[in-house]
C-alpha cells in the first residue's frame, strides 16, 4: 500500500517547533502536513513538571504537548503518525518516504526533528534497552522500587535523574568519567547530601551485564579511566544520561551542520543551505534548547515558508 500525498508545507517532527509551525502555517492557509515521528510530542513527553513555559506556572510536559497538538489540529494542520525514513532535497518538489509506505511531496520542508538522548553505543546497552537500560527516569523509575540502580553521566540531567530515582531505588550509583560534575550548584548540593546516592568518579561504563532468560540487567562493569581497573556493580536498572544530540540523520549529508551536528541556519532566520528547506528547534539550536525557543523558531520557519511560497508564485 503506497500512496502519494502532496503538500505546500511538510513539517517533520511533533515537538514544540513542529506544532508551532503547524499553527502558523495553517493560519497562513498553507494546509500543512505534520509527520509526528517515533516520539509524538517530542522530548517534553519524557519529563514531568515544566515551570518555564510562559502562561503556565507549572504544567506536566505530556499535557503541554497534548495541548499543542490539539492547537495545531484545531487550526487545520493534518497530523500523521508516521516516521520519515528518507528525504530527497535535491530537487523540488522535495520528497519524503514514510515508514507507512506513503510518499510525501512538498514545496517546502520544515525540519523539526529535535534532539534525542545520546547513548553510549555499546552492544550490551542496545541489547538491554527496555529491559533495564533506559533514558527516561520519569517513565521507568517506578519499576525499580527497592532496587539498586546505576546512572551514567555528570551533567544536570544525570544529577536530576539520580535524585529522582532515589524516590524508588534503595541505592543509586552515579558513574561519571571525570572527578567533578557539570551541573548546577544547587543540584550538586542536593546530590551530595543524599545518602542513597554514591558517586563513582573517573569511571566509564564498560559493559551492561544481564540475563538472557528472561532478558534483564543484573549489573554493570565500569572501568577506571586512568588505571583501567574494573569495578562490578550490581544493578537492575541502568539510566543513561549523557546528554542529547540533534536528530539530523535525514539531512546530515546534504545540509551544513556544526557544533556536533546541529543544522546551520542563516542569521536571524530558519533558512538552511537549501532554498525552501527550513529548520527549527533543537535540531538547529546548540545554545538554548528550550521549549519556548523551539516554538519561536517553529513560528519563524512557517512564516519564512509562507514567504518562500509566495515568491515562487509570483
Amino acid at each position: 500500500m503506497s500512496d502519494t500525498r502532496h503538500t505546500k508545507v511538510l513539517i517533520i517532527g511533533s515537538g514544540p517547533a513542529g506544532y508551532t509551525a503547524g499553527v502558523y502555517a495553517s493560519r497562513a492557509m498553507l494546509e500543512p502536513i505534520l509527520v509526528q515521528g517515533m516520539e509524538p510530542g517530542g522530548q517534553l513527553t519524557t519529563t514531568t513538571d515544566v515551570e518555564n513555559y510562559p502562561g503556565y506556572t507549572e504544567v506536566q510536559g505530556p499535557d503541554l504537548m497534548i495541548k499543542m497538538e490539539e492547537h495545531a489540529r484545531a487550526m487545520g494542520t493534518e497530523i500523521i503518525g508516521d516516521i520519515i525514513l528518507d528525504l530527497d532535497l535535491s530537487k523540488r518538489p522535495f520528497t519524503a518516504k514514510g515508514d507507512s509506505g506513503t510518499l510525501y511531496t512538498a514545496d517546502t520542508v520544515i525540519l523539526a526533528t529535535g534532539a534525542r538522548a545520546k547513548w553510549l553505543g555499546l552492544p550490551s546497552e542496545e541489547k538491554f534497552k527496555g529491559f533495564g537500560v533506559s533514558a527516561c527516569a520519569t517513565c521507568d523509575g517506578f519499576f525499580y522500587r527497592g532496587q539498586e540502580i546505576v546512572v551514567v553521566g555528570g551533567g544536570n540531567t544525570a544529577v536530576e535523574e539520580a535524585l529522582f530515582l532515589t524516590n524508588f531505588a534503595s541505592k543509586v550509583t552515579l558513574i561519571h568519567r571525570r572527578d567533578e560534575l557539570r551541573a548546577e550548584k544547587i543540584l550538586i548540593n542536593r546530590l551530595m547530601k543524599n545518602e542513597k546516592i554514591e558517586p563513582l568518579w573517573d569511571h566509564q561504563l564498560e559493559e551492561v551485564v544481564g540475563d538472557d532468560m528472561p532478558l534483564g540487567v543484573t549489573g554493570v562493569r565500569a572501568k577506571h579511566v586512568k588505571t583501567g581497573e574494573i569495578t562490578e556493580i550490581p544493578a537492575k536498572g541502568v539510566f543513561i544520561a549523557i546528554g542529547h544530540a540533534p536528530a539530523n540523520e535525514l539531512v546530515k549529508d546534504v545540509l551544513d551542520t556544526h557544533m556536533g551536528g546541529y543544522v546551520v541556519t542563516k542569521p536571524d532566520s530558519t533558512a538552511t543551505s537549501i532554498p525552501g528547506v527550513f529548520a527549527a528547534g533543537d535540531l538547529t539550536d546548540h545554545k538554548y534548547r528550550q521549549a519556548v525557543t523551539s516554538a519561536g523558531m517553529g513560528c519563524m520557519a512557517a512564516l519564512e515558508a509562507e514567504h518562500f511560497i509566495a515568491e515562487q508564485d509570483d
Binding site: Q36, M38, E39, P40, G41, L44, T45, T46, T47, T48, Q60, G61, P62, M65, I66, G81, D82, I83, D99, S100, G101, K129, G130, F131, G132, S134, C136, T138, C139, D140, F142, F143, Y144, R145, P214, L215, G216, V217, K236, G237
Partner: protein, 148 residues
C-alpha cells in the same frame, strides 16, 4: 476441521470459541453478551490477562502503560488506530502498571510502554518503546499467526 479461534471475553473472562469465518460478524460473548472484538482497546486487569494469555489463540497485544509515562500517553491514539486496523483478527488491550504493580514484576517489565503479544498460551513477541499505528499493526501481522 472447521477452523475456529478461542478468545477470552475481556469483560467477564469467559472463554468463547468463534468460527474463523464468523470473526468479522461481530461475535458476542456467550456468557455476558459483550462484543468480543469491536476494534477498540480494552482496559483489562491481571485476572483477565491471565485467562486470555492462557487460552486465546486469537492474537492479543497488550500495552503495559502508566499514567505518569508521557510516551505511553502519546502512543494511545496510535494504539487505538491499530486496534481498529487489526480487528477482527487480533485484539488490543492495555493494563495499567501503576494500578497493578505485580503484573509488571510477573512479566519482567522494566520500561514502558512495553507491548507484549500473546498467542496460544505464550508470549510470542515483545516490543520496548512506542511505535506509530502502522508499525504496531505490522508488528502483530508479522509476529502472530493471524486467524482465518
Amino acid at each position: 476441521m472447521a477452523a475456529s479461534s478461542k478468545m477470552t471475553c475481556l469483560d467477564c473472562g469467559a472463554v468463547n470459541r468463534v468460527p474463523n469465518d464468523k470473526l468479522g460478524a461481530g461475535p458476542k460473548c456467550g456468557t455476558c453478551g459483550t462484543k468480543l472484538n469491536e476494534g477498540k482497546v480494552r482496559e483489562i486487569d491481571p485476572a483477565i490477562l491471565a485467562k486470555a494469555m492462557k487460552n486465546d489463540d486469537t492474537p492479543l497485544l497488550v500495552d503495559f502503560w502508566a499514567p505518569w509515562c508521557g510516551p505511553c500517553r502519546m502512543m494511545a491514539p496510535a494504539f487505538q488506530q491499530a486496534a481498529g486496523a487489526l480487528a477482527p483478527q487480533a485484539r488490543l488491550a492495555k493494563i495499567n502498571t501503576e494500578d497493578f504493580p505485580k503484573v509488571s514484576q510477573k512479566n519482567n517489565i522494566r520500561g514502558i510502554p512495553a507491548l507484549i503479544l500473546y498467542q496460544n498460551g505464550r508470549e510470542v513477541a515483545r516490543q520496548a518503546g512506542a511505535m506509530p499505528a502502522n508499525a504496531i499493526e505490522q508488528f502483530v501481522r508479522t509476529k502472530a499467526k493471524m486467524p482465518g
